[in-house]
């Protein structure tokens, strides 16, 4: 079962992602902010990380930077969720090594398709 970490501060968004990904058979872990996300990442390995950009305490960009500079985690695919108008931040995220991004508002179904794609790629790679 592929393991996915969702880092998001909006309660309904995180719940919707959790329910939707669990429904599709993923093992989902949740973090309500970047700091909590990094803490979970330190103690677990994941097949995919989905993170929001604008979050309290530690931003999504810092999480991406942490993952991509980590010797073990650096190959974990990361999808960032960004609001419309944050195109410059998305560019920055790509420079940090992020694998994909989705702009809010987004279609839940589309996100799931992207998740499937990354997990499949990782399976093939492994």
């Amino acid at each position: 079962m592929a393991k996915v970490l969702v880092i998001e501060d909006e309660e309904l968004m995180i719940k919707a992602l959790e329910f939707r990904l669990k429904k599709d058979g993923y093992d989902v872990q949740l973090a309500r902010d970047g700091a909590q996300g990094i803490e979970i990442l330190d103690n677990n390995t994941f097949d995919l990380v989905i993170t929001d950009i604008m979050m309290p305490f530690v931003s999504g960009l810092e999480v991406v930077s942490y993952i991509k500079s980590h010797p073990i985690m650096k190959d974990t695919p990361v999808i960032v969720l960004s609001s419309i108008g944050l195109e410059r931040v998305v560019m920055e995220a790509f420079e940090l090594g992020v694998d994909d991004f989705i702009t809010k508002p987004f279609n839940l179904g589309e996100l799931v398709i992207r998740v499937k794609k990354f997990v499949r790629q990782r399976d093939v790679f492994n």
Binding site: E10, E11, L12, A16, F19, K104, P105, L108, E110
Partner: protein, 381 residues
Amino acid sequence: MDIFVSAGNYLHDLFISRFSAHPLYITLSLLIMLLCVIGIAEVLFYILIRRATEFYQLKRDADLKERIITMLANILVFHDSDDPGLVVSHFIPRFAKLPLYRSSIRRILVSELISNHRNFSGRTAQVLTELYMQLKLDKRARKNLHSPHWYKQIEAIRELTEMNVKDECDRILKYTNHRQPQLRIEAQIAFVKLCVDNPFRFLDIVKEPVLDWHQLILFEVITKTETMARPRFAFWLNSENDSVVSFCLKLIEYYQQFDALPNLIYLINHHNLTIRATAIEILGRMEAEMAESHLVAAFTNQPTKIKVKILNTLGLIASGGCLAFLNSHAKNKEFPVRMAAIRAIKAHRQSGRELLDTLFNEAIAQDKAIIKHVLDERIKV
């Protein structure tokens, strides 16, 4: 313990045993003190009860919020393929059990629906709108739309726009010309977003100015809404409202509506100098060769600022057809005009360069300095 006993004895003595024996002013003072103490005790008791109730309510609302979020998350992931109406109908009995008669609960549900409608698109957003409508949560916003308070109207407009409630377009249209600027811009944004068939109809009725910052916000909304129908903005170039004309000019340039060029040429003689200048600049940026003769014809009677704009525009068009005209103004008495004419000649590349060489040879010292200055590639304008 002794201290409480002795205080009690003292008070008993003061207020009961010797009360009738006190002189009148002492009795009155004691009564006032007693009333004050009772008053303070009552206030403290009231604050205590109020805080306890608030704490209990907040806790209850937090629990309900958690429940609402879980219910919403469930509805959002329920059978992707189903029609949003059917999905919502399936969940309505559960939502109906919520104490929606309480305004705080209604507010929590509406705010969750609004913020998540912003985050999701497609079917998920449709489900949220359907839920909002089926629970009749739009009733309050519709009522507030008729409120005498502009801030309540704004709140209602925002809510209805976010939840994509299109049937209040006519009411919102009326507010697009409201004298309260904040309500006006909110209504204009809402109208552009909601009235997909004819989003710019409000430009027909706007008599109040579309302020510069309103134009910025509207421009952002219009250019970022990909599905919006874009009309021929030239239609509003003869509006009596100058701010509408100025706004449409920006949109014409952004969408490169070349069929608007004849209308832009008409604006070369507009009564408002700012509009005149903007129209001339846009003609240049759109390289409207057809405008050259009109610009030349209108040149003489213009103020210096507009003359310079015309010369800059002729430089941008640079068809070569106006070199003689530019040459005639290279020796104009007004310095800014002379400078702009020489720059426009330079913009004509080879033919312009040749003309400038000839002018340089014939020029007096000051004109030679201007030509040298214009030809200096290090100086960017």
